[in-house]
């Protein structure tokens, strides 16, 4: 049976999830809800017929089984709770909510309503991070003692279509804890690899004149032992396919880096994957969607996992509990900064 899906929020992420959903065997996006008429027109151009200016109306449609929630971060709580209360299975972009308390509320609601919830921790679905974890878990580098997690990008790099950066990026209230954006992925990857952790040190700083920090160094120590330095920043002009991300693990028996697992030349990789997909197409096999972009294929993998879990009545790999623990650890970073003002330069 095909799962009928609605999307709440048709910005960049909503559009991406719609395009990715077309490659899902057992799911089909049938409706889109967004406050913006421009976004709804864009959804119409993508072939969606059921368009809603109010997502509550969409949620009243009994035919819709699952909802993909992709509005700006500060709107996740309300729309996710509404979807869960309506009895829909939910895939929600990270962060699940702006506070760990709100993540708990969502978790409680999902359990009470007996529906499944997955949070979009797509960095766990990169081919490179999956291989890194599998190798580490196999014991190939012994016990990790030290590790580095780096991710630098910018919300300010425009797409090829000249559009302003969304206004909410500049609103401190709406952005909330800045580490909920890019930093979230690194905190989550640390927890995924090494389990629960505590904050050893943090420094939050500004390069640009944002109303909030735009770069940070965080040192975490897992209860199992490994320590990690997380470096994250919003300050770089990186134009696709440039991607400044790496995880390096230093173990007692060797070292491992995603730099060795990610294609060295992403343009060459795109060309190779493009040719491979064309051959698959010619020989009537299924193509590997977005594999030519390397990092975007993680969205395909996570969506495939979500719909697979719905079809087979399994719990998704990344649920509200994981999101709660990641958000709580980020809250610990900010609590640390409040406690140790000399160690953290906070945006005024």
């Amino acid at each position: 049976m095909s799962i009928k899906v609605g999307i709440i929020g048709f910005g960049k992420m909503g559009k991406l999830h719609l395009r990715v959903s077309r490659y899902m065997k057992d799911a089909k996006v049938v409706a889109v809800a967004d406050l913006s008429q421009r976004a709804l027109r864009a959804a119409e151009r993508e072939g969606i017929r059921a368009l809603y200016g109010d997502y509550h109306e969409m949620l009243r449609d009994a035919d819709i089984d699952a909802v993909i929630v992709t509005p700006p971060n500060f709107m996740h709580l309300e729309s996710t709770l509404a979807a869960l209360e309506a009895g829909k299975h939910v895939f929600v972009e990270k962060p699940l909510a702006m506070t760990s308390a709100d993540c708990e509320r969502i978790d409680d609601t999902a359990r009470r309503r007996g529906v499944r919830l997955m949070v979009g921790h797509n960095y766990r679905f990169f081919d490179a991070t999956r291989k890194l974890k599998a190798t580490y878990d196999s014991g190939a580098i012994g016990d990790a003692v030290l590790s580095t997690f780096e991710l630098v990008h910018g919300p300010l790099a425009p797409s090829l279509e000249s559009q302003p950066v969304p206004e909410w990026y500049f609103d401190r209230e709406k952005v909330g804890m800045w580490l909920l954006d890019l930093g979230y992925h690194l905190v989550d990857l640390f927890r995924w690899l090494f389990g629960e952790a505590e904050v050893v040190h943090a420094r939050l700083d500004n390069h640009y004149g944002f109303p909030y920090e735009d770069n940070a160094i965080v040192i975490l120590q897992s209860r199992a032992g490994p320590k990690g330095v997380l470096q994250v920043g919003y300050f770089a002009k990186l134009v696709f396919p440039a991607f400044d991300f790496r995880v390096i693990l230093h173990g007692t028996a060797g070292c491992l880096s995603t730099d060795r697992l990610v294609p060295q030349n992403l343009r060459l990789h795109a060309a190779k994957e493009g040719i491979a997909n064309m051959l698959r197409r010619i020989t009537a096999r299924r193509i590997k969607p977005l594999s030519y972009t390397y990092f975007y294929s993680s969205y395909v993998e996570e969506q495939r996992h979500f719909f697979d879990c719905l079809q087979n009545s399994r719990e998704p790999a990344v649920g509200a509990k994981d999101a709660f623990a990641t958000v709580r650890l980020i809250e610990d970073v900010y609590r640390y900064c409040d406690r140790v003002p000399s160690a953290a330069v906070r945006a005024s």
Binding site: K12, K15, L16, R19, V20, R22, Y23, L156, A157, P158, S159, L160, E161, S162, Q163, P164, V165, F170, H207, Y208, G209, F210, P211, F235, K237, F240, G274, N277, M278, R281, I287, P289, L290, Y292, T293, Y296
Partner: protein, 312 residues
């Protein structure tokens, strides 16, 4: 003696070094004001929200030095405004604070003006056989001194299908009050020249402290001059382009905006600077850029694969 274009370099890229280079370049030009300077408008080049170290936007320290020069040489109590208009993907209300222009404004006691927000006038201009009407900020015509402060860079048009040099002539594109300017891109050279026929900056001070070619490069250079066509011709030579091969320069000269001939270059050796500039071939760029996009579209059509919204 022809039009003077002054070049000054600093080996120490800090506030003092930049100030010294700006003052030397302007002294070389020997610009004299025609009357009392009570109001001054300075137009930097802000692109998206990128830092000056990327070679994309004018360094606020260059603008600060120009402000100091105006106050020291012409009028210590002149009312100075740093001006920029909103663009399709950039809002000045965010760009000014993000790029630390608000700090400059409070330190120097100058005003920051969004050219898209003030009073505008619709002006018509003809370039060749083409007629254009632009909504332009009235303040630019009412100011005693208008100083153009572009960045020395080469980059793709917003439409992405060709490279162009962005310097004095192109920086006036950012004076159009209407934020969504992409509609003018198909005729960009004519539009640039038309704007330069309507708005005549009194002085041009080019920020080549960090310039942009194939990649950003620390040149520590300031170029100054009165004639935008002459300054852009010198900049084109620094980028290792023949000025006569740059359409906007050729067209601007033909339309009487300025002259690329009889230029007296003083201060630095253009050839020596050109040697370290990471030049970028317009043809190679065009082939690579349009080639990639066409390949992607063709691939998506034939294979049925998706294109991420980022690449739309």
């Amino acid at each position: 003696m022809g039009t003077i274009v002054g070049l000054a370099r600093t080996s120490t890229i800090d506030e003092a070094g930049i100030r010294d280079a700006v003052f030397r370049a302007l002294d070389l030009v020997g610009f004299e004001t025609f009357g009392p300077v009570e109001t001054v408008a300075i137009k930097p080049n802000l692109r998206f929200y990128w830092d000056y170290s990327t070679g994309e936007t004018t360094d606020p320290r260059v603008v600060a030095s120009v402000i100091d020069y105006v106050r020291e040489r012409w009028n210590a109590s002149a009312r100075i405004a740093v001006v920029e208009a909103d663009a399709s993907a950039m809002r000045t209300r965010y760009a000014f604070p993000l790029l630390h222009y608000d700090r400059l404004a409070s330190e120097k006691g100058v005003e920051l003006v969004n050219l898209s927000a003030g009073e505008t006038c619709e002006l018509e201009v003809t370039v060749g056989r083409r007629k254009f009407t632009f909504p332009l900020p009235r303040m630019l015509f009412d100011t005693d001194l208008f100083i153009n402060c572009p960045k020395l860079k080469v980059g793709p048009y917003a439409s992405g299908n060709a490279l162009h040099i962005t310097c004095c002539l192109k920086n006036l594109f950012g004076c159009i009050a209407k934020p969504r300017k992409v509609g003018w891109h198909p005729q960009i050279n004519e539009v640039i020249v038309g704007l330069n026929k309507l708005i005549r900056p009194h002085l041009n001070v080019v920020d080549g402290i960090v310039a942009l070619g194939q990649r950003p490069v620390r040149l520590g250079l300031v170029v100054a001059g009165r004639d935008p066509v002459a300054v852009d011709s010198v900049v084109a030579r620094i980028m290792r382009y023949r000025p006569s091969s740059v359409r906007q320069i050729r067209l601007a000269e033909k339309e009487g905006v300025g002259s690329a001939r009889n230029i007296s270059i003083v201060g630095e050796d253009v050839k020596a600077i050109a040697k370290v500039f990471p030049s970028r071939s317009p043809l190679a760029f065009k082939l690579a850029w349009t080639g990639q996009l066409r390949m992607l579209r063709l691939y998506a059509k034939l294979s049925g694969d998706a294109v991420p919204p980022l690449l739309d």
